[in-house]
Symmetry: C2
Subunit: 502 residues, 2 copies
């Protein structure tokens, strides 16, 4: 293990998490590694939680502001939220305990585009960052960090922080070294073009250069990432994926897409899994991914020779695939690149690749405004993540979702989205198990029938009823009846279902 | 005049607009030059309108789909809308007649990010483009086009169109030649970085290369652009501008902005005019503009030596300044660059410049979601324009607006924006005559007091009333009471004012 810390100077900083937590103080601003349950610190969060609880027991205040790459895990976001150790958190979360605290108004959460989050820290919008806590597979002789299973915002946090704690996690394969491509845009006023023209271009180093003087502690860990078991796609997911693949086929027929070199971005979940399974048997070859997270399905596509390269900032694998990745990292690093999220999600590169974006949603309205974050406008589910980065800048942006949730009680198509994360100017195509609503080139009123056609049949009459009310509006650019715009959501609040009760 | 058409071959194509209109057929898709009342075709629109009316008089269908850069003028959008000659129009408009037709449901309008519009044509999302009609100051010997007072989407339209009509407008100064910088990103899959690192970089040609074989007509005109008289800023505008300039000063104090080399983007109107007048007397030096339109105030800043360079895609000048520009174009082209809007509004370059964006709005809600386009959710005002391109990618994005409109009947701050063009993830700072709401780093609930503080005092109790209702929401991530979210708008509909009537 000690040879994972090649810097003699930093070997001297090795201590336990319980000792290292002395460097974490009430009111600190702390940036950590971690993205979609990969590469987050494993030891310090528990130690910070204990410190917070001890302080609280003595009637003292103790909380920190925490910035990450994206979601982490129960042993990071979960324990910290549970202990009341967080005042503020950004830019993404998906933890059940944290979600509960946020929705109870017990902690603050700001939902920020993933491509903006590190940049905003760099720009000084959060003031001084006290501490960066970053997981590594290895520390080089020069004291630089070889990141583990994600890169996230670590570069920006390590640059900005006054102090650094490194967790060297032996569970992570040392063979991950060489998979990362660390390059970030120089700070203003010296920003330059990002020299990536193809998804697979490598432009940086395999490690993050840091100022070793800032390192106050090195903590050894040996703990797995949060790797959720793979859920086989259900029938609905397969239908949606089928519709998505039909859409791709139609784009090929229309001359707007080639079977060779299709560039994909994909959210995480059942439907993306089904899409990737479908791509396996498709005519698409030399598929590339320019995305946030490497999922099981992409590994399968790489193994099958269907995908030539996958660029992301993190893994989000099942336990089996995480083990495979750890065992065969030296092979996979030929075709997998992990970049800072400021690059994986950068509008500049996203536009350049001409990727087709595909993300989930909570609901969309009849004009094509999409809600990715809030149930009934108020209740935070997870957060925005990179959906805005990709949707706004994709060649074609799509949202994929089952037409209903909660056994039919919630419709994914509503009269007016109760929170709007992606507006009618950004979202192009919506897909459910009932088909494809292609809104490209359509004025608002021409979008309505398309959106209703992909709603669940039990909701179509209710949507038509709203359209009828809205049609009486004095102004027909985007007709609404604001008196009834949220009727679906109000019924849900009152009766537990968006359906009308007889 | 004839030496403005240096190509002998194209001189043979000279004809009147009435003759040239033979090439415009019912159902055609037509892309034209024109951006904010500059550089639009002056003769063909009237001829098309006459052709449409003649057909309609005979009981025949006649309408076209029309794509432009942005807004044009009464003698273009106005006459065409009046004649019922347009089925569909994108991506921006501001014409009173057209607005009326759109809101009456008599023509279709799609509101598209200005940076997306030409790209979507190039990507084939609108199918084949039948005709491009582009204004030029000159046709070169090789048959290439020297654009006039805007570039807009002309490159994309000229590339995509099967036929081309050129209007050579003698009113426009020939000295504009050399002011344009024509470069666009190569089409997919060959997109490359845009080699602009500073606002003033010139990377292309001074003319648009076309296929002269596609030119079916050249029409001579001698007509001015729509140059609206400059309106001196009123007291409220000056107060808002003062708050904006104070905000800039505070950014300098916080170390996040330098007096030297401030990069601005600015919407058009009274408040921007007042801001530019204020910059004249400020400590800011070597100001640069990376924006859509060159306005009077920027010309003043250039003349005063305060602004070193202004990059845009179009002019939007008063008649006096338009005359000055025409007379002294050879001098101004040292410091003014007109680019395709695909470059002036490209996320890639916008991010790189680190500009501070400043745009108007109709309303924003207590959480910082902004509506730029629709009054009461349904009634189209103008359109989105480039506000999304700049807001999403700015170093700091701001919205500036008087706190009330229509003598106090409409509040710019509302509980829930009735149309959301810029969401809480994009908008950072809101400014009215009552102050600055800086939302950076704030979770939703912490934004509310800031937003209410810049509302008009007569609306603050009503906003507090809503916040009180929303505070009872079971979920406190972004508390709303959807039952009352649109009360302001409904009162406006019912009583003509958002204020409560006793």
């Amino acid at each position: 293990m000690s040879d994972r810390i090649a810097s003699a100077k930093l070997r001297d900083k090795v201590m336990s998490a319980e000792e290292a937590v002395q460097f974490v103080n009430h009111g600190d601003k702390v940036g950590t590694s971690g993205f979609t349950g990969a590469g987050y610190p494993k030891a310090l969060p528990a130690a910070i939680s204990e410190k917070a609880k001890a302080a609280h027991d003595k009637g003292q205040d103790f909380s920190i502001d925490m910035y990450t790459g994206a979601s982490t895990a129960p042993e990071c976001d979960g324990v910290l939220a549970e202990a009341g150790a967080l005042r503020y958190r950004m830019p993404y979360q998906s933890d059940p305990t944290m979600r509960k605290k946020i929705n109870a108004g017990e902690m603050k959460f700001q939902d920020i585009h993933l491509s903006h989050s590190g940049m905003m820290v760099e720009q000084g919008f959060f003031g001084e960052v006290d501490l960066a806590i970053v997981e590594a597979v290895r520390i080089t002789e020069e004291g630089n960090i070889v990141p583990s299973s994600s890169v996230g915002n670590s570069v920006e946090f390590l640059n900005a922080a006054k102090k650094i704690i490194i967790e060297v996690n032996e569970w992570q394969s040392e063979e991950l070294e060489g998979m990362h491509d660390i390059w970030t845009v120089p700070p203003l006023p010296n920003r330059i073009p990002i020299p990536i023209t193809k998804c697979g271009d490598r432009i940086g180093t395999t490690y993050i250069e840091i100022d070793p003087e800032k390192v106050v502690a090195v903590v050894k860990t040996n703990d797995p990432d949060r790797n959720a078991p793979f859920k086989a796609p259900d029938e609905i997911s397969e239908q949606i994926a089928g519709n998505f693949l039909d859409f791709l086929e139609n784009e090929v027929k229309a001359g707007r897409l080639a079977y060779d070199g299709y560039v994909m971005q994909s959210g995480v979940g059942n439907v993306p899994n089904a899409v990737m399974a479908g791509l396996m048997d498709s005519k698409f070859e030399n598929i590339q991914a320019y995305t946030e997270v490497i999922q099981d399905g992409m590994v399968d596509l790489i193994d099958a020779g269907k995908m030539t390269v996958a660029s992301a900032t993190s893994f989000s694998l099942s336990p089996e695939y995480a083990e495979k990745m750890n065992n065969e990292a030296s092979r996979y690093r030929e075709s997998i690149i992990l970049r800072p999220q400021s690059i994986s999600n950068h509008p500049e590169v996203i536009r350049r690749t001409g990727l087709i974006a595909s993300n989930g949603m909570i609901e969309a309205d009849i004009y094509g405004n999409a809600n990715s974050t809030h149930i009934n406008g108020s209740r935070l589910m997870n957060a925005l993540g990179g959906s805005g980065d990709f949707t706004r800048n994709a060649y074609i942006s799509s949202f994929i979702s089952p037409s209903v949730a909660k056994d039919g009680a919630i419709s994914a198509i509503v009269p007016f989205a109760s929170h709007i994360d992606h507006n009618e100017h950004d979202a192009m195509v919506f897909i459910t198990e009932y088909g494809v609503a292609d809104l490209r080139g359509l004025a608002p009123r021409d979008r309505v029938a398309k959106m209703i056609s992909i709603a669940h049949p039990s909701y179509r009459p209710l949507l038509e009823e709203y359209v009828e009310l809205a049609s009486k509006c004095k102004y027909q650019a985007t007709p609404h009846d604001l008196r009834h715009a949220f009727d679906f959501h109000l019924r849900m609040e009152e009766t537990g279902t968006m359906l009308k009760q007889d």
